[in-house]
Symmetry: C2
Subunit: 587 residues, 2 copies
């Protein structure tokens, strides 16, 4: 028996008991006559005490030989502490050691195992098993565990069935790049790892499973950004005989349940906005609603005043920053530099200050009089004391820049309360996006998304104008999930593939099984997928998903701890009927 | 709104309600004046009625145009049935159709969507989405869903944390063959798919996670047998500060909980037997304990009687078949043929009948008198009316054959009650197995299994004699799970790698991260993994795991529905820096 109790459970009620506990040494304090050891495990920290004169001298010598992160087993009596520690649940007691057994020694860890550590990210990733010992890191994975269990509890309670879909599937060139897996038994052929179980969950609806979910690993071979991982986890769901609002209310229910159970927060009903409206108002399809500062379109009233920048602009967009009329010249210059950064891409910034005395001061006073400027403030619902920041240019990039500027001002002015959660459903996305480079349309969600019924006729003549029956869940500016009502009719699916530039043969070759399935009684259906890593990081109050993954990969897709990807043996390659392309050998 | 109710919930209490239901047409009966439609969904079957004279004639025409597996939406009034069907929960009512909306048509399915279908396996796999519509198949996946949820509920309730370990890991040549994944971003390097999360779960113990679990996909590139799949699911667990009996009692608890919740069966406490004992008694390490018929060793009493077959045999092993003394010559001959099959491999079969009158008759009467034969029966605890079947030869293959013969007799005599569950812990496996072909030892479980403490010293001098602190859970002759107490000491782990023929460099190259981790305070730990597909099939009363997998692959690792593995484009290969080995081009 390695322990009678863990390191987090002993209380004053246990006084006098003879106990055995095991754990890691967090800290040793040696005050000459007294030695204290803080012993740690996942459940807490318990103090051990050894006292010269009382404790066996051999045991005191042993204790002095111990080091940080040694694993020891201690047997002793629970005694009441003289000076209690109210911050620690076990702080009323300590254990008077009677024997200590060293279960394993430890080298000095390469960084401190404390909530605030001195280890850099690369070092912590290499020794991830030590990083995971830190309470802050473990708590993130405990939150993840809880969100997983609560998700399953909720969905199971409303008749969703968890079904595992295959990991070794078929490569399809549409969408992101697949990871592929050579088949030894079928030389020259390959599996692919799923980017999502999309077609399988649709087939489960054709099978009449009615409500499906899965918390599932998905894979994308993309060039990684800070918040992307080659393997990531989704809460993947699909429902039959549902309209958009059925899906929205079901997953609004799930989201509220999770926040209530995990964050102890009651979310209000989620607003619903169209893609067009959020783009107009916030310049992004994932707006952070924890603050206002919407974009105002001044194009209708700010032209024709000899100011060529505005006259030649497709759009003139403003945000009104409350109580910022006292911004200095230097602050305005900094903002101007900020919007000109290539990531934002504006060509300049016009400002108008609405002074407290009612006068207005702008960088375009040459072209506009006080009445003109007042009209702008009226349009933006601004008032004395506010600052109007204006960008102009072509609509798409100006709107993007205005959205970025809004976020920047929200950040600067600390308008985003980290303890507040503001969800939003964004609906009615465009079905297709035109890609200039390849001169073709791409599906904005994926090729299985249903056009809105009223736009169905336009899919052949005017595909760019068709709206999708698609929706995203956005919380605090983070896209948490997305989904759509799907096509369940073979002929519409074929039209969709055609709009995407598939030949009939290509459509059949890649998705023939789905097209066939649609001919055997496919029900109307729709679904959604939540980015699970992102949801956890949002609920945990972090911006990095990597913190919420036990063994993440770095930006080159490398696991620094196990040092992979790595070379494999020539025999393995031979068995798989592949060989490496060596650029030098070929040239 | 596609439906107000599903097809399984309307009752007599709902009489008079106007409802809308949607589903698949299971059956249409047209009796001239009356048409009944059985409408099916996951939740049940509801009867629709249309009556000439009462129902709108257009609607009747429409109903006559419908076919099997069409998806329709029906609006109508719930009425009481004249002739009720007590076998169907909705059998007291039917719906008087007022409108029918065809949601999707269906071609005639390639096989009948009934519990007993006329479709062969290949056809059903190709149209798996239709096969899954059958109630018997869906129920298997419903059972799987329930076992998953209950497993998580139980393990979470006793502080196990579910942690997702990575799928893209490192290839290690030890054990079965890995599936590998070329890395585009690291040309010439590869990931591997995990055969199990073994090293990761051990690292989580080093991290102090204390109790880990995961229901996780694992991958093995093996030549497939009927009950093997290239991807399969495990309940994977690990615990710190535990001895073998802690692990056994924890997972005996889980198993009992699952059988109670899912099968409504209370399992008795699981017996524990050593590997040596089960091999001696049953000739296999996974005995079916639903019946007795143990193997009796007659080697000590049956030699030295001029019968050369026995005299030259290493082992003489018998099973005593109760009430089978009346077996005919023909039946004995059939058994002799059976044991001589190459899969069993015996060279012959000796029988002794203990007649009801107390006389004995055997195939070796020339060499043994009645007293000799009586002694054999005494040894085997047989009695008048029983039949002794005896095999002789070298110990290993004779023991195997006797075990097979025992199972065969159990089957023939229907001694294995399909509703009974007999679990057994098998413990103290050998640590290593000698392989004649490669002239080296292999780990019987895996290289991380701890030797039994008392055998530790022998690992260098006499590795073949070392017992492992390993255990298997066997139920009804099926290996449900296996695990071990792990090595947590770097030097012992290094000795183990050495015994397996690893050089120091190879050990470091492949498992350096684990060896390093052991130097930073690794706790004593152990764990287990249950084969989840097999557990579900056992609980569901089936012998095939394929039935319990939503989208299984066939024996060539092929998914017949989506037709994969398949070729990928030259561009994909190029991006991954690999090319195919084409035998013809090279020769």
């Amino acid at each position: 028996m390695w322990r009678t109790h863990n390191c987090g459970e002993l209380r004053l009620d246990d006084k006098g008991k003879s106990v055995t506990i095991s754990g890691w040494i967090q800290k040793i304090r040696d005050k000459g006559g007294l030695i204290w050891i803080d012993l740690r495990d996942r459940y807490g920290i318990t103090q051990i005490i050894l006292e010269e004169g009382e404790t066996d001298p051999g045991l005191i010598d042993l204790a002095r030989s111990l080091g940080r992160e040694f694993v020891i087993q201690v047997q002793g009596e629970v005694v009441e502490r003289v000076s209690k520690n109210p911050k620690n649940p076990t702080g009323d007691i300590e254990i008077k050691a009677e024997s200590i057994n060293i279960l394993n020694r430890s080298k000095v860890p390469p960084f401190t195992i404390e909530d605030e550590t001195d280890g850099g990210e690369e070092l912590r990733m290499k020794y991830r098993y030590l990083d995971l010992r830190r309470g802050t890191v473990r708590k993130k994975l405990e939150l993840r565990h809880k969100v997983m269990q609560k998700t399953r509890e909720y969905l199971s309670s409303i008749e969703f069935m968890e079904v595992e879909t295959p990991v070794l599937i078929k490569s399809t060139p549409e969408g992101a790049r697949d990871f592929i897996v050579p088949s030894r038994m079928n030389p020259g052929e390959f599996y692919a790892l799923p980017q999502s179980p999309q077609t399988f969950k649709q087939l489960l609806m054709v099978s009449g499973f009615d409500r499906y979910f899965q918390i599932v690993k998905c894979f994308r071979d993309e060039d990684l950004r800070a918040d992307r991982q080659p393997e990531f986890t989704q809460i993947d769901c699909e429902m039959s005989f549902v309209s958009r609002d059925d899906v929205l209310s079901t997953f609004e229910g799930l989201t509220k349940f999770l926040f209530r159970e995990v964050n102890k927060v009651d979310l209000e009903d989620f607003p619903v906005m169209s893609y067009q409206d959020v783009m107009a108002k916030y310049g992004t399809d994932k707006p952070d609603l924890r603050f206002g500062m919407p974009i105002t379109d001044l194009s209708g009233i700010a032209k024709n005043h000899d100011f060529n920048v505005f006259n030649s602009a497709e759009s003139i967009l403003a945000i009104c920053v409350e109580r910022a009329a006292d911004y200095t010249r230097k602050q305005i210059d900094q903002l101007t530099d900020w919007v000109k950064r290539p990531q934002v891409g504006a060509r300049g910034l016009v400002y108008v200050k609405y002074n407290e005395d009612g006068s207005l001061k702008s960088s375009v006073d040459k072209f506009y009089d006080q009445e003109d400027l007042k009209k702008w403030f009226a349009q933006a619902e601004g008032k004395p004391g506010d600052l109007l920041l204006i960008l102009a240019g072509d609509d798409k990039s100006t709107r993007f820049a205005a959205g970025e500027l809004r976020l920047h001002m929200g950040n600067t002015l600390k308008l985003m309360n980290p303890d507040e959660f503001k969800p939003l459903w964004v609906v009615d996305f465009p079905l297709l996006e035109w890609d200039e480079e390849t001169q073709r349309y791409y599906a904005m969600h994926h090729p299985f998304t249903s056009p809105k019924e009223e736009d169905l006729e336009q899919i052949e003549k005017n595909p760019g104008n068709v709206s999708a029956n698609a929706y995203d869940l956005v919380i605090n500016g983070v896209e948490i999930g997305g989904g759509s009502i799907r096509i369940h009719d073979r002929s519409i699916q074929e039209k969709m593939f055609k709009a995407l530039g598939f030949t009939e043969e290509e459509a059949k070759e890649q998705f023939g099984f789905l097209l066939n399935a649609f001919e055997y009684g496919a029900p109307p259906h729709g679904g959604i997928a939540f980015g699970f890593d992102r949801l956890c990081s949002l609920m945990g109050g972090s911006t990095s998903i990597r913190d919420y993954i036990a063994f993440p990969k770095n930006n080159s897709g490398r696991d620094l701890m196990i040092d992979t990807p790595s070379e494999i043996s020539p025999e393995q390659l031979e068995e798989l009927s592949i060989k490496l392309i060596s650029k030098t050998k070929e040239s």
